[in-house]
Amino acid sequence: MASPLFAALLALLVAVSPAISTNPEGEALHSLRARLKDPRNVLQSWDPTLVNPCTWFHVTCDDRNRVIRLDLGNSNISGPLGPELGRLEHLQYLYIPPPPLELYRNNFEGKIPKELGNLKNLISMDLYDNRLEGEIPKSFAHLKSLRFLRLNNNRLTGSIPRELAKLTNLKVFDASNNDLCGTIPIDGPFATFPYQSFDNNRRLNGPELQGLVPYDFGC
């Protein structure tokens, strides 16, 4: 009895022996990969023994070997959005693709990790056409470089964080086809977004009234 058991226990120990590994951004991506379902093995090139992830396919670095772009839109990749993404601090473009229909249960569902608010260099965040739930993280107010934020066609709930009005660079905001509630901010960039950006949110009550008693009921 004892010997196979101890062999199994020792195997666990062998697994923790030190190994040469990639840089922190590579580690973040590698632990993200561990969560993802990748039936076509398109992330095969994500070799954590390389010194950085810059030669991994679907990853783009700048000339200082910092990850600026992540394209998972290529094939059948699905899984939860990991908080690891928040460690890619130089990321400029994030596109989480719509899931293939046959992977309905395993797609990028769940909440939007608040850690995405750490991506201070992010220019574009495309999370549309997924099945994301929960609220739009208030931490998005830290995305000072953000120009494009597309969250449409998900199952997001709660109100539109007023903090987003601080995103002075925001040019495109689309939160249509969700289950958001409350009122629509009117400050900052929100003064310019068309009504279509908020379409099809049954419980959304229209623009907030300033100077009056806020009527954020039902949210």
Partner: protein, 908 residues
């Protein structure tokens, strides 16, 4: 149970006699018949049952044990006998069996429930087979059972709670199966249970607190399941427990301090759960603990463990948590027995090694990926037992101390990604003669490699990238015959490649961005396992040796930015595994080889900035995995092959600056993953295919500028909602700017200049600066000058346009003549007038390229819009308007600056 009725009467008598003698009846000759039935059912590939033959003495048969008096068969042990087939049902009739061992065979099928009738059974061992189905609940009636091991099979279903009735059970082994459900609380009735092993199943639910009733339990192994809930504090009362392994489950909550009360505990493994909170100092009471693994959790707080108390501790693994603070001095004082200390991936800070210098028993130390700072103390030389010293991803400074040479057992030295500076690699490093892995990349080391490097003959990994190391690669490196991974990239090394080729086991050779010169020696190809060869950004030249084609496992070949010349050898077509082929920035001649189409794994192909000519081979369309294709800055001619549409995964396509002609193939619509498409500076003709509008992932750039494209801008381009930069300038595009372009909400830079566009600029594009539309003389409307009515006409037939043009020309000629006449009259009258300069227009023309819409300029664009609108309203259709508009940009630029400054200072 006995098949007495079918036997001769004397046997019946005998069996009755037996039955009188013992409760469990059995008789050897009758059982022998059963054994022969068993033999018939099994496929005995190994000949283990050769001795079983009819009429033989069953007690002498292989694997058969009889009772001391020779009257009953009490044991059957056919372990590791190479048996195939299913577990014979007949076994259920061997009523006298006390021990049945069929482990480590290749048995398939279900465990027969009939085994539940073998009521004398004390040992049932069926582990390591390929049995499927459930664990039969009938086994619960085996009241004498002490040993039940069914693990390493494909058993599914739940653990039957009836096993709780086997009150004599001492060992229950159900590991490495596919059991689901939860661990039955009824197992807590098993007062004699010593070992419970359910590792590696898919068991869920909580750990039943009833297990605490197993007061004799020594081993509780439930790792690699889906258990949830907390670690039950009652486990702390299990005084006999020696091994507790709950690793790789989904357990949450804190580690109960009560565990500190299990004084017999020798092995505690809770790794890979979701445990939170601090590590209780109560665990220090576990004086017999040899292994403690709490890694891969979310534990926080400071390390409060001490080997002063944990005097037996050899392995301490706390990696990948959220621990903070420094390494306490009493973690490992003198006379400790700690061998392996792994604290990687936490938020630990302070001096890395100072607190551990007395921990002379250490063999393996991993403090990587923390926030440790300070220098590596010279005292590190006292840790003479060290085999692995892993300190990468920290903020260590100072030099690598020469005392490192005292670590004669060292095999791994990993210090990459620190701030090691002030220094050379110490000469004494050569005394670490067992060193296998030397990783000093991403530091600030400088100077040459020490001459003693050649003493490190065991070295397999040499990774020194991103330092300021210099000098020629020493010739003696050729003595390092075991090298597999060599990464010297981003240094200042000079000399040639040959010193690194003493090994024929290279897997990775990366010399990117040094000043390596000479050619590529054919000897590189001796390393048949070479997967990555990166020699980019050096001073290498000559031809690519055809021998590289022998590297059938080559995955990455980067020879970019050197002075390689000649043709791309066809032998490279042998490198079928190539994912990246980067040959850009050289002087390669000849054509783009058609055999590239046979490299089906190719994901990145960059042949840009060479001297390649000829056509783009249609075979490239076969590289269906291609993500990046760059052929720009060559002299390629002919058309873009329609087969480009087969590259359905393509992200980036860059064919700029060649001599390509013909139309843009409409098949390009299939490349719908493209986010960057550049075809500029060629001689492409025909219209812009409307299918381009289907490339909805286009984001970085769509550049078709400086070609000879004609026709209208397809309105479908308005579908490129993510597009940030669009350049169609310097073509022969006609017609109006489609209003759909106004939907390009992401558009950030737009250049439609120098075409033959006409009509009104769509209002939504009026925010772009004039430069976006320069040279399209018939365009009007903001930001350009206002449209006169005829220009604004939108849906007019060609004849109507012609008529209007003629009319305009005629009228304006007349008007001009009249004006000229009036002016002449005025001029004659006053003879003095100021004419504004037209310099500004020239400036705009030279600016040519991009017109930005961001920041300050964007405000100015708005301003410009407002002004031009007001000018439309205010100005009357008089001749003077022309000269006003020509002078306008200059004046407005000044205003823009002021306005921008004002907006900055004043609160919005």
């Amino acid at each position: 149970m006995g098949p007495a009725t079918q036997r001769p009467s004397f046997l019946l008598l005998l069996s009755v006699f037996c039955a009188v003698l013992t409760v469990a009846c059995g008789d050897v000759p009758a059982d022998a018949v059963l054994l022969l039935e068993i033999k018939a059912e099994l496929l005995d590939a190994g000949g283990a049952l050769r001795s079983w033959y009819p009429g033989g003495d069953a007690c002498r048969w292989n694997g058969v044990t009889c009772s001391d008096d020779g009257a009953r068969i009490v044991g059957l042990n056919l372990s590791s006998s190479g048996l195939l087939g299913s577990v014979p049902l007949v076994l259920g009739r061997l009523g006298s069996l006390e021990s049945l061992d069929l482990s480590s065979n290749s048995l398939i099928g279900k465990i027969p429930p009939e085994l539940g009738t073998l009521e004398n059974l004390t040992e049932l061992l069926l582990y390591s087979n390929s049995l499927s189905g459930g664990v039969p609940p009938e086994l619960g009636s085996l009241r004498k059972l002490r040993l039940l091991r069914l693990g390493d099979n494909m058993l599914s279903g739940e653990i039957p709670p009836q096993l709780g009735n086997c009150t004599e059970l001492e060992v229950l082994g159900l590991a490495f199966c596919r059991l689901n459900g939860s661990i039955p609380g009824g197992l807590g009735h098993l007062k004699r249970l010593r070992i419970l092993n359910v590792q590696r199943n898919t068991l869920g639910g909580a750990i039943p607190v009833e297990l605490a009733g197993c007061s004799e339990l020594q081993v509780l192994a439930a790792s690699d399941n889906l258990l949830i809930g907390g670690v039950p504090p009652v486990l702390g009362g299990m005084g006999a427990l020696q091994i507790l392994s709950l690793a790789n489950n989904s357990l949450s909550g804190a580690i109960p301090a009560e565990l500190g009360g299990v004084s017999s505990l020798a092995y505690l493994n809770l790794r890979g759960n979701m445990l939170r909170g601090p590590i209780s100092p109560e665990l220090n009471r576990l004086s017999r603990l040899g292994v403690l693994d709490l890694s891969e959790n979310d534990l926080s707080g400071r390390i409060t463990l001490s080997t002063t108390n944990l005097s037996s501790l050899q392995y301490l693994v706390l990696s990948n948590n959220s621990l903070t603070g420094g390494i306490p001095d009493d973690l490992c004082p003198t006379n400790s027995s700690l061998h392996n200390l792994y604290l990687a991936g936490n938020q630990l800070s302070g001096e890395a090694l100072t607190g551990l210098l007395n921990c002379t028993s250490l063999r393996s130390l991993d403090l990587s990926s923390n926030s440790f700072s300070g220098v590596i103390p010279s005292g590190v030389g006292g840790l003479g037992e060290l085999v692995d010293l892993v300190l990468h991803n920290n903020s260590l400074t100072g030099p690598l101390p020469p005392e490192i040479g005292n670590l004669s057992n060292l095999q791994t030295l990993s210090l990459f990604h620190n701030s090691l500076t002030e220094g050379l690699i110490p000469v004494s490093l050569g005394y670490c003669s067992k060193l296998q892995s030397l990783a000093l990349g991403d530091n600030r080391l400088r100077g040459p490699l020490p001459p003693t490097m050649d003493m490190l003959t065991e070295l397999r990994i040499l990774s020194l990238y991103n330092n300021s190391l210099e000098g020629p690669l020493p010739e003696t490196l050729v003595l390092l015959r075991n090298l597999t991974i060599v990464n010297l990239s981003h240094n200042r090394f000079t000399g040639g490649i040959p010193p690194l080729l003493g090994s024929s086991s290279l897997v990775l050779l990366d010399l990117t961005n040094n000043s390596i010169s000479g050619g590529i020696p054919a000897a590189v190809a001796r390393s048949r396992s070479l997967a990555r060869l990166r020699l980019g950004h050096n001073l290498l030249g000559g031809a690519i040796p055809p021998e590289l084609g022998q590297l059938v496992g080559l995955d990455f070949l980067d020879l970019s930015s050197n002075s390689f010349s000649g043709k791309i050898p066809s032998e490279l077509s042998g490198c079928k595994q190539l994912n990246h082929l980067l040959l850009h920035g050289n002087q390669f001649t000849g054509t783009v080889p058609s055999w590239l189409g046979s490299l089906r794994s190719l994901g990145e192909l960059d042949l840009s900035s060479n001297k390649l000519h000829g056509r783009i081979p249609v075979e490239l369309g076969s590289c269906s995995s291609l993500l990046k294709l760059s052929l720009h800055d060559n002299s390629l001619s002919g058309g873009i092959p329609p087969e480009i549409g087969n590259l359905a995964s393509l992200n980036i396509l860059n064919l700029q600056r060649n001599n390509l002609s013909g139309p843009i193939p409409s098949t390009i619509r299939h490349c719908n993953k493209l986010f960057d498409l550049r075809l500029s500076e060629n001689s492409l003709t025909g219209t812009i295919p409307p299918e381009l509008g289907q490339l909805t992932e286009l984001q970085v750039m769509l550049d078709l500028s400086r070609n000879q494209l004609s026709g209208e801008i397809p309105p479908s381009l308005g579908g490129l909602l993510k597009l940030e930069r669009l350049n169609l300038s310097f073509n022969r595009l006609q017609g109006q700017v489609p209003s759909s372009l106004g939907q390009l909400t992401s558009l950030h830079r737009l250049n439609l200049s120098y075409n033959f566009l006409q009509g009104e600029v769509p209002a939504t594009l009026s925010g772009f600066p004039v430069a976006s539309f320069l040279g399209d003389d018939k365009l009007c409307g903001p930001p350009l000058e206002a449209c006169s009515q005829s220009q604004a006409g939108k849906e007019l037939s060609n004849t109507a346009v012609a008529v209007i043009i003629v009319a305009i020309v005629f009228t304006s000629t007349v008007v001009c003549l009249v004006l000229l006449y009036i002016m002449l009259r005025i001029w004659c009258n006053w003879r003095e007038v100021a004419v504004s300069s037209s310099d500004s227009e020239g400036d705009e023309r030279r600016a040519g390229g991009w017109s930005c819409e961001d920041g300050k300029t964007s405000r100015s664009c708005d301003y410009w819009k407002v002004n031009s609108m007001s000018s439309t309203v205010v100005s009357s259709p008089r001749g003077k308007k022309q000269s006003q508009a020509a002078a306008a940009p200059c004046i407005f630029h000044l205003k823009m600056e002021q306005e921008g400054a004002l907006e900055k200072n004043s609160p919005v």
